[in-house]
């Protein structure tokens, strides 16, 4: 079994000068304990560890030379080039005071840093005017110590609000036992935890009690294709929750980091049921987070290419008119707005068009009057917003189809 040697800071005694590279190093040392450890997780790629220790220094003299402070580690992946050493304060009468300048020279100063060969170690040469207890801070980047974020959301039965809990999970597989350490993600509360080796610690970072959500239903033929062989013209209707990361919508304290979101719903009997999960993408302040939960199988949408006409312009250049008919049946108890995404670039390529970039298009006169169409995802990605009423309460009444037509003219195509 591998023996883990923690990162150590040693004060080497009685050695006047740094060893030459090829020399064996014989150390007689005092080992100052960590006084404070901070694990900074605000950078998503690198974890910064800052530790403070009290180092007893001897007064530098011509005979003894300067103090040498040795920092070494094994079985951990510390980025050697990232290690910073900073003298912070001197203990005086039981408290620490800042380092002063005396006669134009600082009481304590780092003279140089040496790197012994074939060792994970650094040796700082430190000048001290007088013997003192010096508080120093050693900072370094370390691998295999990181964090992940996860969310647990509980929707109310009507799906209007979420109770959103954001967790941070610290994973320490760095090989280092940090003991009591401060943990900070760059936002939210700072935690004080015992961070041992090979441990995961899951902590509640924030609880957002009432986050308004918008439930959306989306149909995208080119993204999902036919629903099944029995319904070759229907496709999947996807359900999403949309959250806005701002104060008005119960969030807005900090950007939302990427992480897995598991969504539950109150079942109306004091319990919960699992609705689905999705990866949340990074969501800056004021931006929207969209979470895919699953399929809405009570909303059926079929898309039929009702007709098409080609109008030759000259040579192989042509315009293509297309009539698309959408039939929406809502078997739910509630009315829904279905967002139908029509990928016009993909539609143009179905007709063999090779025009580069987005297709040029215009709306035809046969498009259903009053049909709400937006292009927030791109000019060639019109989204039709179709209201479908709830299924009738009357047990004998049937669900009526909502039928809309999108008539488009794709222009200046060639094969």
């Amino acid at each position: 079994m591998k023996t883990l040697i923690p990162a150590t800071l040693l004060l080497l005694l009685g050695l006047a000068a740094a060893p030459r590279p090829a020399e064996a190093r014989i150390k007689l040392a005092t080992q100052p304990q960590r006084e404070r450890v901070e694990i900074q997780l605000d950078n998503g790629r690198y974890t910064l560890v800052e530790e403070e220790r009290i180092v007893p220094l001897l007064a530098s003299t011509t005979q003894r030379g300067n103090n040498r402070i040795d920092f070494s580690w094994a079985n951990t992946r510390i980025d050697k080039s990232s290690i910073q050493f900073r003298p912070l304060a001197i203990r005086e009468d039981g408290t620490f005071r800042p380092i002063r300048e005396v006669d134009g020279q600082r009481e304590v100063a780092v003279i140089n840093v040496a790197s012994p060969p074939n060792e994970n170690a650094l040796v700082w040469e430190v000048y001290a005017k007088e013997a003192c207890a010096l508080k120093v801070r050693v900072s370094y980047l370390i691998s295999n110590l990181g964090r992940t974020f996860a969310y647990r959301a509980l929707a109310n039965k009507d799906e209007t609000h979420l109770l959103l809990k954001k967790y941070i999970q610290l994973r320490n597989y760095s090989g280092e036992d940090f003991g009591e350490a401060g943990i900070w993600a760059g936002f939210g509360p700072k935690f004080e935890k015992t961070v041992g080796q090979q441990v995961d610690i899951k902590m509640l970072l924030e609880r957002f009690k009432r986050v308004p959500i918008r439930k959306t239903f989306t149909f995208d033929w080119f993204a999902h294709g036919p629903l099944n062989p029995d319904k070759p013209h229907a496709s999947r209707v996807l359900m999403h929750y949309e959250l806005t990361n701002d104060g008005k919508h119960g969030l807005g304290k900090f950007p939302m980091q990427p992480g897995k979101v598991r969504i539950f719903i109150q079942d109306g009997r004091g319990g919960e049921a699992f609705l689905g999960e999705d990866w949340a993408r990074f969501t800056p302040l004021d931006d929207k987070m969209r979470l895919y939960l699953g399929e809405a199988r009570d909303v059926i949408c079929t898309r039929i290419v009702q007709d098409n006409k080609r109008h030759r312009i000259t040579g192989n250049l042509f315009n293509q008119e297309i009539w698309l008919r959408y039939e929406i049946e809502n078997f739910k108890d509630d009315a829904v707005t279905l967002d139908i995404v029509e990928q016009l670039n993909a539609l143009a390529s179905k007709y063999g068009a090779r025009a580069p970039g987005d297709v040029e298009w215009s709306l035809g006169k046969d498009t259903t009057e009053g049909l709400k169409i937006t292009t927030e995802r791109g000019g060639a990605l019109p989204i039709l917003h179709v209201e479908a009423p709830a299924r009738p309460k009357d047990p004998d009444a049937k669900v009526e189809k909502v039928v809309v037509t999108l008539h488009v003219a794709l222009k200046n195509l060639w094969k």
């Binding site: 996860a150 929707a155 039965k157 799906e159 935690f191 015992t194 041992g196 080796q197 090979q198 441990v199 995961d200 610690i201 899951k202 902590m203 509640l204 062989p229 029995d230 319904k231 070759p232 013209h233 359900m239 897995k260 598991r262 719903i265 079942d267 109306g268 319990g271 919960e272 049921a273 699992f274 609705l275 689905g276 999960e277 999705d278 990866w279 895919y292 939960l293 699953g294 399929e295 809405a296 199988r297 009570d298 059926i300 039929i304 290419v305 009702q306 007709d307 098409n308 006409k309 080609r310 030759r312 049946e329 078997f331 739910k332 108890d333 299924r391 009738p392 047990p395 004998d396 049937k398």
Partner: protein, 443 residues
């Protein structure tokens, strides 16, 4: 044989106790209730168990371990059901040396017995729906039943399992069985005998939990299935508790309609169902058909007919896909030898030739087609014809015909008993250079 072990234990808090010690002194609180919510679209079961634990004021440690199971560690949640505002979970610690193990550090302002809920996802339990329809000899109405079947392959017998079943397609970004394999736990590969055994063990563990529920009501006779909608899904809750015997699957009736009237339709769609017309039984999942309480989950349906001689005839089977409330139920019972469809060309003309360099590069073809439908049954039948015509087509028929889409015509008619119906059509096809469109134009 590896044994499944799920333990919730209170660890006496001793100063200086290391998290990862191998010797634990624990107290094991009894379970007060367990609920299994099984999903059919994914291999996932949501387990919730309630227990009483005794906490003291200040810091408490609660240990939860799940040896030899397929529990997703990231899903394990702890929730106080009482004194929630006085009990705070400081953190959850997963010691690396004990992979299937965690400790909740709990700060409590309350001292005494506390009802808590532990929930998690596990893998290895499944359920399915199946349907049986028996028509009367005249094929006008049917006795239709749907059954829920919960599978227990654990090899042992379980009693008093409390079960909820979710109908719907949820989104999972990672499989639960894979999550259970994380953290260096030596888990077998998916589908391997070892994994199957683990799944059986997980199934057994979950049913064990449910069986351990104290005071569970034992319903007698047929169990009711309570149905309710949750978001886009539907939840079937099995009344009381269930006993599922060793190696058996338990089948419970969930849907029943004794006299559902249905319609028979013949559909000829060569591009969808093949070269022969197929027979559909069509009715609705609504009150009129003694249904409509809930959607019908995906499942296999088998159709029989009372043969009038105190026996049944097997008509066919099909996998029914999810049917919402009030939506039509369409069951394809296959081809019928007593209904015959034939199509033939009657007359062909070619004209309007286009030449290039003295060679024919474009022409029009006018073809007279006659489709014949012969009904050898003693009842009239409704016949739906859809036929695809690729290319640039001008189409004409004396029978009412509509365009279903840009390349498919549709005609619906009735064929009398022991009668023949002729469906004539004239198809003008522009070919070669004469083809300037890809659509049917109805004349």
């Amino acid at each position: 044989m590896p044994r499944t072990l799920i333990l919730l234990a209170l660890i006496p808090l001793l100063a200086g106790t290391a998290l990862a010690e191998n010797v634990d002194l624990v107290t094991l609180p009894n379970r007060e209730g367990v609920q299994l919510t099984i999903y059919n679209s994914e291999d996932i079961t949501f387990v919730k168990e309630k227990r009483y634990v005794t906490v003291k004021r200040g810091a408490n440690k609660l240990q939860f371990s799940w040896a030899n199971t397929l529990i997703d560690p990231s899903s394990v949640e702890f929730r106080p059901l009482e004194h929630a505002d006085e009990v705070d979970i400081a953190d959850t610690v997963f010691p690396g040396q004990k992979p299937q193990f965690l400790i909740w550090n709990i700060d409590s302002a309350f001292e005494g017995q506390l009802l808590v809920e532990v929930s998690y996802f596990t893998s290895g339990l499944t359920w399915q729906m199946d349907y049986v329809g028996v028509t009367n000899p005249e094929e006008e109405q049917m006795d239709f039943r749907g059954h829920v079947r919960v599978f227990n392959n654990s090899g042992e017998e379980y009693e008093d399992a409390q079960i909820r079943l979710i109908v719907g397609n949820i989104n999972l970004v990672e499989k639960i069985a894979q999550l259970a394999r994380r953290k260096g736990i030596p888990m077998p590969k998916p589908g391997s005998p070892m994994m199957q055994r683990l799944q059986r063990d997980a199934s057994k563990a979950a049913f064990d939990l449910a069986a351990a529920r104290e005071g569970a009501a034992r319903a007698t006779g047929a169990k009711a299935i309570v149905k309710e909608g949750i978001s886009e899904y539907f939840m079937f809750t099995v009344e009381g508790t269930e006993t599922i015997k060793n190696g058996w699957s338990k089948r419970m009736q969930a849907i029943k309609s004794e006299t559902a009237k249905f319609e028979i339709v013949y559909r000829m769609r060569a591009h969808q169902y093949g070269p022969r017309p197929v027979r559909f039984f069509i009715w609705r999942n609504d009150k009129e058909h003694e249904l409509g309480e809930s959607p019908m989950p995906d499942g296999k349906i088998r159709i029989f007919r009372e043969n009038g001689k105190d026996g049944l005839s097997y008509l066919g089977e099909q996998t029914v896909r999810y049917v919402p409330v009030k939506a039509p139920i369409e069951v394809n019972v296959g081809t019928d030898d007593l209904v015959v469809y034939e199509t033939r060309r009657d007359k062909t003309e070619r004209f309007n030739f286009t030449f290039h360099m003295g060679r024919v590069v474009g022409w029009d073809t006018r073809t007279a087609w006659i489709d014949t439908i012969r009904n050898y049954r003693s009842k009239p039948i409704r016949f739906e014809l859809r036929r695809r015509w690729p290319g640039h087509i001008e189409y004409e028929s004396e029978v009412t015909t509509t365009s279903f889409d840009y390349r498919t015509i549709e005609a619906v008619f009735t064929v009398g008993p022991r009668d023949t119906f002729l469906y004539p059509a004239t198809v003008l096809q522009h070919e070669g250079k004469n083809a300037r469109q890809n659509r049917i134009e109805l004349k």
